[in-house]
Structures are given as C-alpha cells and as structure tokens.
C-alpha cells in the first residue's frame, strides 16, 4: 500500500480539477504534475497513490510517468537548467552557451544541467530555462547575472 498522500493544498487543487473531466483517467497528467509540485519528483510510491485516485492500475501510471520527459523519477538538484540544443539554438551558439554554463556551475551541487530538445523559443536563441523560467537571447553577461545570483 502506498504511504503517499497529497497535502491539503494539493488535495484542493486535485478536487477542483476532478470536476472538469468526464473520467478520472484524464487526471493522469494533472495528478502527476501535482505530485511533482509537492515533492519535486515522482516516486513509485506516489505513482501507486495516483493510480488509486484516478482508478487505473499502478503500471499504467508508471507507463505514463516514464514516457513524458518532464517528470523526474528521482530527486534532482534544486536548480534545474535546461539548455535547448535544437537547430535554431544550435545555429545561434547553443554549444558555447552550454560550455559556459557548465564551466560556471562546475563544483556546485546546486545545479542539474540538461540538454533538451526544442523549447519553442527559437526566436530568442540561444536560451535556457531555469526551474521552468525561460531566459532568451542569452549572452555570457546575462548568464553571469542569472546564475551568479544563485551561486
């Protein structure tokens, strides 16, 4: 049995969303997002809990949680930097940007850096997302400011 539960705040959000869908299965992604919002990642324990709440088998939740790349299946560092590597960003200097970011954050365990596919910010290339917040048209100076504030 799962020992996981939603906090009262998250439970409220879940119940509000529940009213919007004709079948509980539709709450799969919303529920997984809520778990990640609460815990920062999605444990198998939480998956079992979600399965119970949306009336599917636990394996179905596992299937979905492992399909979508934005779900973290284990705890990650507090600052998640995603650098877009797809064509428009690559043409505009993604590799140099990534190298700079990696050099700057080397030795710190506060960061997780991921190379990701197109983030839909092609007009602002090169770009990164820091904990989901987009930073576009990046230069080394801008990176200094953004990451420097955390270091």
């Amino acid at each position: 049995m799962s020992t996981f539960t939603f906090t009262p705040l998250i439970e409220d959000k879940f119940l509000n969303l529940q009213k919007r869908y004709p079948q509980p299965q539709s709450l799969m992604l919303p529920a997984l997002w809520l778990v990640q919002e609460q815990e920062g990642f999605i444990s198998t324990d939480a998956m079992e809990y979600v399965a119970l709440r949306i009336e599917v088998a636990p394996i179905e939740v596992y299937r979905v949680a492992t399909f979508y790349t934005m779900f973290h299946l284990e705890k990650i560092a507090p600052y998640h930097i995603e650098v877009c590597k797809t064509l428009s960003c690559k043409l505009c200097g993604e590799e140099k940007l990534l190298e700079y970011i990696e050099k700057m954050t080397a030795g710190s365990d506060k960061f997780k850096i991921t190379k990701v596919e197109c983030m839909g910010a092609c007009g602002g290339a090169p770009m990164m997302a820091l904990n989901g917040v987009y930073h576009e048209n990046l230069t080394n100076e801008k990176v200094d400011q953004i990451i420097g504030a955390i270091l």
């Binding site: 079948q23 992604l29 779900f71 043409l91 839909g120 092609c122 290339a125 989901g132 917040v133």
Partner: protein, 436 residues
C-alpha cells in the same frame, strides 16, 4: 506585408488583462456570433476558407461540420497548444499577449459545435504562458464570461491541460490519448472523415492560432478574411523567423507573401552580412529549400511550397547562412526525431535511431560511401508504413537534405570533415506567381 488580425493587440501594453483587452475590442465578436445559429457560424468559417494553422492546413469549416448534429453525447472542443515543432513559437505569442482573444475564439467555436467543455492542451515547458492564459481564464470566470454563471447564450468551461514534454502530443490523436491519461501514441486514422473522439464522445482538435482567428471571421464575415492571402490559402498566418537572421520573431502576413522578402525585408536579412544558404520553411519537419533562383519565387502558401517539394507546415522558418554545415544540421534534426519518436511503430522507432547513427558516422569520419544509399533506403522504408506522419516527415527531411546538399555529404565521407561549398548570391528574377 504585415497584416494584423490575430496579432492586433500584441503591441498594446497589458492587453492580456481583461480590462485593457475589452477596451481594445475583446469579446465584441460574441454579439455577432450569438445572433447567428451554430450552423451559420460553421458555414461562415467554411466560406472564409480558414485553414488549420498547426501545420496540416486542413480546412477548419470542414472539420467542424464533421461534428454530429444529432445525439445526446457531449461534444468537446480541444485546443492544441502543444507547439513543439522546432522553429515554431507563434502560439505562445497569443497566450502571452492576447489570451482573451483565444478565450473569445473558444466560446464562439464551442457554440458552433455545441461543446460546453473545452480543453487547451499546452506543452509542459510553457509554464509562463500557461500561467498567463490561466490568469485570463480566471478573470473571464470572475466576469461571468465563462462557466456555470456565465451570462452568455452559451456556457463554456475552459480547462488548461498541461503536457509533460512529448513532441508527439502535438499530433491531434496522440494529444487526445494524452488527455485521456495515456502515453501519447497516435491513433489509427479512420477510412472516412469523422470527428475525433474523447472517451468515445465527438471532439474537434484545432490549433490555438486557428481558434484565435475565428472571432475576426465571425465578426467581419468570410469575405473580409478572404481579402487577404490567395484563392486556396486565404487569410493570414503568424509566420516566424529564427536561425541566422537579423530580426528573428513572429510576424503576421497574408498567405502568398514572398519567402525571400520575408527574410530580407522583415527579417533584416542574414546575420553578419553573410549569404543565404538554405531555409527550412515551416518547422523542422518541412524539407529544406536551397537558396537559389527557385527560392526567389517561393511564396508562403501551401501550393507554392508543394511546388518546390516542401511544405508550409507551421510557418516557422529556420534560416541558415553560407557557413552552415549541412551534415551537422541534419544530424541535429535527426537527434531530435530519434529522441521524440513515440516508439509505437517499428519503422519509426528503429528507423529514427538508425538514420541518426548513419549521419553520426558521417560526422565522425567513419562512414563509407554506400552509407548514403543506406540512409536513403531507411528513409524510404520509414515513409508510409507508420500510423502517423512523424516517420514520413523524417523521411522527407533526409531526402530534402540529400537532394540539395548531397555533395557536402560526399565531401564529408571522403575527407572526414566539413568542406565549405560555394553559395551563389540570389539574383533578382521575375517570378510567375505573385500576390495580387
């Protein structure tokens, strides 16, 4: 060249708030919409020639008319905001600058199709844009524009459904699978045209920009929309520029505008005064066009793009300058497809990895001459043998690169490195087709 229909309020400060949006005319199309019957609205949209703006270009009115007229099953409107095609960043402009336009479009479209629940599926990475739209939705609920307490003739609920990082969920049936709580695996296509189904109930999937165009058409009539664009591609679209261009961004223009003028005049030309080498015209999945005299006559509409062996796609053009290594560019795109193949169909799952490896070997200088034939052979096998158009698109991408830049691939195999090829300046040519 610029015509502002969907982007009318993009430059107005705080137009994302209900107050400013209303001052600027938001929700004014509702009165006109509710004075008509739902089928009259479907008719106007059909007459306008509005085509889906998510990449496929299917006629919107025709799609809507597939929704059943009878029966007691609930109808659903699903808005596709999964915008994940590399080179495409247009729907986010609507979500950021004019979310109330989308809400207005949803209300009218839902009324036309007798849907009282609408879902807007937005890619998970668009956190800010999701919050923007949610803010506007909350305001619309508070002002009794949406929901049970709506004072309008047709009551609609709008729910944002956040994706979680799967490109394939932009494919409409994969999107519905995802909305139903499953992996984003595209569904088999029906033999005859029929609506989509969400838990067995009729549903229509339309792109964000398509829905945002509806208020203008309903308020001003089909002819007003048809005054822009071409006979077969009427109206306007949000075209995007990225890559080696001076002014990247999103610009609304009529269909049939010149691609080269778009790059040179609106885009400010290629960066650093370099020459243009190639353009991927409508998102990564559209075959690359080589910069030569033919390109000078390419227009931004479905028909013109087809004539040069490419496609208009999402209208997001990626510009490449004379120094671009085309082998590296193709490798970059194939990595994307390798990563994003949903894995459902074998030719795609295996093929996308195989082609990525072959081009990787070319880049690493360990490929043989016959590998190019293998590459084309695998590309051919990927085409037409899968459930959705993902694999055929990969196939077209590979063929486009090899058709136009085969010499670069051969040079690479021979020498193991990038050899710069000569790029001609595009000279002025008289084009046969031009926008009237």
């Amino acid at each position: 060249m610029i015509v502002k229909i969907v982007s009318k309020k993009f430059d107005i400060t705080d137009a994302h708030t209900l107050q400013v949006a209303k001052e600027q005319g938001a929700y004014s199309a509702l009165e006109s919409a509710f004075s008509k019957t739902p089928s009259e609205i479907v008719e106007i949209v059909t007459q306008s020639g509005l085509r889906g703006k998510g990449g496929g270009g299917a006629p919107t009115g025709k799609k809507w008319s597939l929704m059943p007229q009878k029966g007691d099953k609930p109808h659903y409107l699903i808005v596709n905001g999964d915008e994940s095609e590399p080179g495409t960043f247009k729907d986010r402009q609507i979500l950021q600058y004019d979310p109330h336009l989308l809400i207005e479009g949803i209300i009218i479209s839902a009324y036309a199709m007798n849907a009282s629940e609408a879902y807007v599926y937005i890619r998970g990475e668009y956190k800010f844009f999701i919050e923007r739209l949610q803010g506007a939705i909350d305001e619309a609920y508070a002002a009794n524009i949406l929901g049970e307490n709506s004072t309008l003739k047709h009551k609609v609920n709008i729910t944002i459904h956040r994706g979680a990082g799967a490109y394939i969920c932009g494919e409409k049936t994969a999107l519905i699978e995802s909305l139903e709580g499953k992996r984003g695996h595209p569904r088999l296509k029906p033999k005859k045209p029929e609506p989509e189904f969400y838990f067995g109930n009729p549903a229509t999937v339309n792109n964000v920009e398509t829905i945002a165009t509806v208020p203008y058409i309903v308020e001003n009539g089909a002819d007003a929309y048809r005054q822009y664009g071409t006979e077969k591609s009427p109206g306007t679209m949000l075209f995007a520029l990225s890559g080696h261009v001076n002014n990247p961004g999103v610009y609304e223009m009529p269909y049939g505008s010149s691609l080269l003028e778009f790059i040179n005049e609106i885009g400010g030309g290629v960066r650093d005064g370099k020459k243009l080498k190639a353009v991927i015209p409508g998102g990564a999945s559209t075959p690359v066009i080589k910069a030569n005299e033919d390109l000078a006559c390419v227009m931004l509409d479905y028909e013109s793009m087809r004539n040069v062996g490419s496609s208009l796609g999402t209208g997001g053009a990626i510009v490449m300058d004379e120094d671009t290594d085309m082998v590296e560019a193709l490798k970059n795109l194939l990595e994307f497809y390798h990563h994003e193949s949903c894995g459902q169909c074998t030719p795609c799952r295996e093929g996308s990895g195989w082609v990525d490896n072959i081009v990787g070997a070319i880049l690493d200088g360990v490929a043989k001459k016959e590998d190019l034939d293998t590459l084309l052979d695998v590309a051919k096998t990927m085409n037409g043998k899968t459930i959705c158009v993902f694999a055929p698109a990969v196939s077209g991408v590979i063929e486009g690169f090899l058709k136009n830049f085969r010499d670069e691939f051969e040079n690479y195999i021979e020498t193991g490195r990038y050899v710069k090829t000569h790029v001609d300046e595009i000279t002025e040519v008289a084009c046969q087709t031009s926008l009237e």
